[in-house]
């Protein structure tokens, strides 16, 4: 193996990293050979830095991630499982900002500790979606013809089914099966159910990107130099799909977090004693008249979380779209 091959192998890893959307602007700048792409990302960063909405989303997003990782920082010393029925459904006060839930638990702690499950499920589901979407989309777009027709019809079938409906059925029948993760009613099951019925948009994105660049001269050049299918796909074609997929993934994390709360609210997602915003909203729904804070606080935090990802994704799209630059 020559030095050239070794550097190529190194690049392949970087390329693969970028496909999953984990490589950031700084990474790509270090690559000398992708001068044009480096400038795309640095231009995008310049535009992002000036966007108020991006910073708003970023601050909310960082706050949410901190809350998920270090909930004790936000709970003002209260423990989520430290409950006293004497305080049942008490309204917010100076000492307990979010009041108490029906079991008499400090509600600020309850809501804060709920962030972790939302983050885990949102991120896991997006990773599954990207994995499935990139693989299926790349195969469909690259090979075309019958393969593309078949895979696109399969995507059509899933596309015709509402996300919540499909996930609802899968999660309802899941526990009575003995399939490992699906049957345990945990975060993994919810993430898999969301990905199983939500991968189609990522697939279509990747597919269209692959089709639009695969006839390019540089792909022909790579092939002329003897590169195989996998190498051309991973190294020359997929990096083009990184920008739209990154935008899509950012927004989708928010949407999936909302979907998780919805499924849990409907009773098929996370189960007690897990702490989840969906469960909290479910518990509070019959107390809306007497103790509205039980529904309203998790709802507000859930909304801000979803908003964080949508704001970041929108700003990222504007920054990465060269047609919008003047």
């Amino acid at each position: 193996m020559t030095d050239r091959h070794l550097t190529d192998a190194g690049h392949d890893e970087v390329g693969a990293g970028r496909v999953t959307g984990v490589a950031d602007a700084a990474d790509t700048q270090n690559e000398t050979e992708t001068a044009t792409q480096g400038s795309l990302w640095s231009d995008a960063w310049k535009a992002l830095r000036k966007s108020v909405l991006f910073w708003l989303g970023a601050v909310l997003g960082v706050g949410f991630i901190l809350m998920a990782v270090f909930p004790q920082l936000f709970a003002r010393g209260a423990k989520p499982r430290d409950c006293d029925l004497a305080n049942s459904a008490d309204p917010p006060s100076a000492a307990h900002w979010f009041g108490f839930d029906q079991q008499g638990c400090d509600y600020l702690a309850q809501v804060v500790y709920g962030a972790r499950n939302s983050l885990i499920i949102g991120v896991l589901a997006v990773l599954f979606i990207l994995l499935l979407g990139v693989i299926v989309g790349a195969i469909a777009g690259f090979y075309g013809g019958f393969t593309d027709g078949l895979l696109s019809r399969v995507a059509d079938i899933f596309y015709a089914m509402p996300l919540i409906l499909g996930a609802l059925v899968l999660l309802r029948v899941g526990p009575s099966t003995d399939i490992p993760v699906i049957s345990d009613r945990g975060a993994g099951a919810v993430a898999i159910a969301l990905a199983a019925f939500g991968w189609m948009t990522a697939m279509r994105l990747v597919r269209s990107q692959v089709i639009s660049v695969k006839s390019g001269d540089y792909v022909a050049a790579a092939r002329a130099m003897g590169a195989g299918d996998t190498r051309i796909l991973v190294r020359h074609i997929l990096p083009n799909a990184v920008a739209p997929v990154l935008v899509y993934a950012t927004i989708t994390v928010g949407i999936l977090i909302a979907a998780e709360a919805t499924l849990t609210f409907l009773g098929v997602g996370l189960q007690r004693p897990a702490i989840s915003w969906g469960l909290q909203i479910n518990e509070g729904q019959n107390l809306l008249r007497t103790a509205p804070h039980i529904v309203l606080f998790p709802s507000a935090v859930l909304t801000l979380t979803v908003m964080a990802f949508i704001l970041m994704g929108d700003a990222l799209r504007d920054a990465l779209d060269p047609r919008q630059r003047s």
Partner: protein, 307 residues
């Protein structure tokens, strides 16, 4: 055009078959006994269980169960639920409710969405334009679950303007859930109309119309708006199919006896026949309205030809 529609109609068949098989397989193929789940804590008499198994073809291999199901379906027989009630009865009873809800939602999309979008598009970068941009960003970020409870709390409990559950007040009780169901689409329609208006206002034919000395209102309404509405109309058309399938949460929170709640209840009871029947129908609506929209596109915009 006729050939295009015929081809598209033929293409819907594999998608519908695929979608219904997917649901069918999830409900019936996954290990687990629906009859035992139906019986719950009270044990069921073995003879009754055997009869039910026979009625629902549970002893056959999956593909044969599905083939029998589709065979009945094309003859208009949706099967019966475990209590012996025809699924078609449930559908016919619940569907009008959801159709009303979807109609109310579409009216909100047309009235609020298009008006806001047109006004924002005409006066770009004005205060109103920015208001539309900010408010649509907020609205798309609020999960429908949260929006439903917020609407109940503010308009139902605090202001006491609307009923918060059921459909006893006729059309009036559909307004609040309709708005909740439509909210995301209203925001999208407003944005779409705004972008489309702003783009067309820069077009050559609009400059020509102005140069001819037409009144500004004529230029906007007759020349710009008509062209700008093409993508909006097609979005709203396709959205009807989405709204019908997406009403589960709204109907559950507002306690509306529509098709969404019916499918949710039957999923919980693991009533396979009802779930598969309703989902197949919802998928059909989704495909049907998308097809209508594609045909409509060619009618509205003569530049598009399918043949």
């Amino acid at each position: 055009m006729g050939r295009y529609v015929a081809r598209r109609l033929l293409l819907t068949i594999p998608v519908m078959l695929g979608a219904s098989f997917l649901i069918f397989a999830m409900v019936f193929a996954l290990p687990g006994d629906p009859i035992a789940a139906l019986a719950g804590d009270r044990p069921i008499a073995p003879a009754v269980a055997a009869q039910l198994r026979d009625d629902f073809n549970l002893g056959d291999p999956l593909w044969l169960q599905y083939a029998k199901y589709v065979g009945d379906l094309v003859q208009g027989d949706f099967g019966t639920d475990f209590a012996g009630r025809p699924v078609l009865d449930t559908i016919l009873q619940r569907l009008p409710v959801t159709a009303k809800l979807a109609l109310v939602a579409v009216l909100f999309e047309i009235v609020i969405g298009i008006v806001a979008g047109v006004l924002a598009g005409i006066r770009r970068n004005s205060f109103f334009d920015n208001l539309v941009l900010v408010s649509t960003t907020i609205v798309v970020s609020v999960p429908i679950l949260v929006l439903a409870f917020l609407a109940q709390f503010v308009f139902g409990l605090k202001l006491e303007l609307f009923p918060i559950a059921g459909v006893r007040d006729g059309w009036y009780s559909y307004l609040l859930p309709g708005l909740v169901l439509a909210a995301g689409s209203v925001a999208y329609v407003a944005r779409l109309t705004r972008t489309s208006m702003a783009e067309n206002l820069r077009a050559d034919y609009v400059r020509t119309a102005r140069a001819k000395g037409l009144k500004p209102s004529t230029v906007v309404v007759r020349h710009t708006l008509r062209n700008s509405l093409i993508p909006v109309v097609t979005f709203i058309g396709a959205d009807i199919g989405t709204l019908m399938g997406g009403a589960i949460v709204t109907e559950t929170v507002f306690n509306i006896p529509g098709i969404g709640r019916a499918v949710f209840e039957s999923i919980q009871r693991q009533e396979g026949a009802v779930v598969v029947g309703i989902v197949t129908l919802l998928v059909f609506f989704f495909i049907f309205f998308n097809l209508v929209v594609d045909v409509l596109y060619a009618v509205l915009d003569p530049r598009i030809r399918y043949d």
